[in-house]
């Protein structure tokens, strides 16, 4: 059942930020919007909350048209990136504030605040003021205030981006298990693709004033519909090479400078049908493997000689930038392997994992 619906909404300041954006979020759904900084993610949330007036379009919550309803009558809760905790109130008063606005009884307010504080592990801090608690605790207080009053929609604006890794992981787990979030619909904004992939039932990638792709984490990661999406989801970013496509003796190849790569036959069918001769080739660093001597396969058309330019060991994995006949490729490596600058290596590619994007508009050419 559609719970939140945005119908061709437009919002601009001195330039258009959101341009005819439409979206339907179901009841109980956790929808994550991901995109680079400054693309208009926060503006979108502020429009849903009613803090920004729409230039055009309509917003429906549970079927009610709330386009012109002021924020205090929308029954929407939002966490701000800066937490926005009231500095003159204690943690208890901050969480209780939305309940007080609803004129609930004191005993009910107290029990609800204690319930939430316990859930978020801040029950020992209720008498403290915001300046007396840590960043993670502030974040939880802000979240507590959002959860307190049973709103119709949750809007979470980069709620864990400023926290250290440990608390971030802890809170991320909490988002999965919070019942309150599953009862209504949640729109969660982040610029961290890993957070998006981990949390979202569906993910919307924002760019150029709208959502350029909507889908599950798997769909968006495996089948990005454009180079923009491919570049913004995945760490390290996808390798992109401008290529010419040729066919010699029924063997299609992609040529980038002196680098020649085989093209998967399934892909080639699509590309050939569309008469594509030039395009952008996208290769995920995860799908490029470094071959150790004994693993060398017989089909060496899929193997290339490269030279290590930069190697960074990042704990769980390593990131290497390697030069393959003049082209730079980023490769993800196993954590136990070590590489030296200028070391010669062999990498193996898998053409079936390649993506091909239109040179002009960046659209993925393989459906």
């Amino acid at each position: 059942m559609v719970h939140l619906e945005l119908n061709k909404i437009c919002k601009g300041f001195d330039h258009p930020v959101i341009d005819r954006l439409s979206l339907k979020v179901d009841k109980g759904e956790f929808f994550v919007i991901v995109g680079p900084s400054g693309i208009g993610k926060t503006t979108l949330l502020r429009c849903i909350a009613g803090l920004e007036k729409l230039d055009e379009g309509e917003i429906f919550i549970e079927g009610d048209n709330v386009t012109n309803v002021p924020p205090y009558n929308r029954n929407v809760a939002m966490t701000f990136e800066s937490y926005a905790l009231y500095p003159h109130m204690t943690v208890f008063e901050n969480i209780a504030n939305p309940l007080k606005a609803l004129k609930k009884e004191d005993s009910l307010i107290r029990s609800r605040v204690y319930e939430i504080a316990e859930l978020l592990h801040i029950d020992g801090l209720l008498e403290r003021k915001p300046h007396e608690i840590s960043g993670g605790q502030k974040q939880r207080t802000a979240l507590g205030r959002t959860l307190a009053a049973h709103p119709r929609v949750f809007l979470l604006d980069e709620p864990i981006s400023h926290l250290d890794a440990k608390i971030r992981a802890e809170l991320r787990t909490q988002f999965h298990t919070l019942e309150a979030l599953r009862e209504v619909s949640t729109v969660y904004v982040t610029h961290d693709y890993a957070e998006a992939l981990s949390l979202g039932d569906r993910i919307g990638v924002m760019g150029n004033g709208g959502l350029v792709q909507i889908g599950t984490a798997h769909e968006i990661y495996e089948k990005p519909n454009s180079l923009f999406v491919a570049q913004h989801l995945g760490q390290p970013s996808i390798n992109s090479l401008e290529i010419d496509l040729i066919e010699e003796a029924e063997k299609p190849s992609a040529i980038a400078g002196s680098l020649k790569l085989p093209v998967d036959l399934n892909h080639w069918e699509h590309l050939k049908r569309k008469n594509i001769t030039k395009c952008t080739l996208g290769i995920r660093p995860q799908f490029v493997k470094v071959v150790n001597g004994d693993q060398s396969s017989e089909d060496n058309s899929l193997e290339l000689n490269g030279m290590v330019e930069v190697y960074e060991a990042l704990g769980a994995y390593g990131v290497m930038i390697t030069s393959v006949v003049g082209q730079k490729l980023t490769v993800l490596t196993d954590p136990e392997d070590k590489y030296d600058h200028d070391e010669n290596i062999i990498i193996r590619i898998d053409p079936s994992t390649f993506n091909y994007f239109d040179l002009n508009n960046g659209v993925n050419l393989i459906p």
Partner: protein, 279 residues
């Protein structure tokens, strides 16, 4: 720099500080001892720096004139009323300027309001006299003096409150709207407590101006309403000014502002430094 040089600089700085303290505290000291001297001693050719005879009775003497107490009461009425009005109107106007009037119109309007404080008061004294004379309550009334002081205090209060409101994070108000509070309730529940230290500073500045003002009070009022600065010259008998009574009365008149400053200085310092550091 050698250690002896540092010591020398410290000594010079301390000496400078000592001179400064003498300069600032001596008038107060002289005011205090004069207020305790008998008339004969204040008229002595060679002034004494410690009273030969103590006359604490001077402090009772000033209240022998019923006008003294009334003038202090008049000053209190005028300055408190004026402060409340300045703060009330200045806060609302400052909020409107900070939140709703942005861009070139808002900036110019805000500057025009402040510029009202810049002209020399004496330049408008005659027009003001005729203006208030034409009102039903005339020149010699509380209302006239309160309104007149508003001309000077309101621009200052508006400007300062505007600056404090601009520094108060907008997001807190937005969070309050989403909690379910209307803009008016948000203003009283969230925004005002944020600028409260600033309001105390503004109140103090307005109150001190109204409490000490002499020029307008002397020219406009004097019979029905007589504030304490206007009352002080009445301690002159014939050709002789009773400096001991003048000083004793001034000491009494200093109590309210000094007392208030001591009680409120915590807010005063926070208010004046509000927005200097983000935190």
């Amino acid at each position: 720099m050698t250690e002896s040089n540092i010591k020398l600089i410290k000594i010079i700085l301390l000496a400078f500080l000592l001179v400064w303290i003498v300069f600032t505290l001596f008038p107060l000291y002289f005011q205090l001892i004069t207020s305790l001297k008998p008339v004969a001693e204040i008229n002595a050719m060679v002034p004494t720096f410690w009273p030969e005879t103590f006359r604490p009775g001077n402090y009772l003497g000033i209240f022998a004139d019923p006008g003294s107490l009334k003038s202090l009461m008049d000053s209190l009425i005028v300055s408190i009323s004026n402060t409340i009005l300045s703060l009330l109107l200045g806060t609302l106007a400052g909020y409107a300027l900070a939140r709703y009037l942005k861009g070139i119109v808002g900036e110019n309007l805000a500057f025009w309001i402040l510029s009202n404080r810049m002209f020399p008061p004496v330049a408008v004294i005659i027009p003001m006299f005729f203006l208030f004379d034409a009102t039903p309550w005339g020149t010699d009334s509380y209302v006239s003096l309160i309104l007149l002081y508003l001309v000077f205090n309101l621009p200052l209060a508006t400007w300062l409150m505007m600056v404090f409101f601009r520094d108060a994070p907008r997001e807190l108000e937005e969070a309050s709207y989403l909690d379910g509070y209307t803009p008016l309730k948000t203003f009283f529940k969230i925004t005002l407590p944020l600028v409260f230290p600033g309001m105390i500073s503004v109140a103090m500045l307005c109150w001190i101006f109204a409490w000490n003002e002499y020029l307008f009070a002397n020219l406009l009022t004097g019979t029905t309403v007589k504030t304490f600065p206007v009352h002080i010259p009445s301690f002159t008998q014939g050709s002789q000014t009773l400096w001991n009574l003048v000083m004793a009365f001034s000491m009494v008149a200093m109590i309210p502002p000094v007392g208030m400053f001591i009680i409120l200085r915590r807010y005063m310092v926070r208010g004046l430094s509000l927005g200097v550091v983000k935190g």
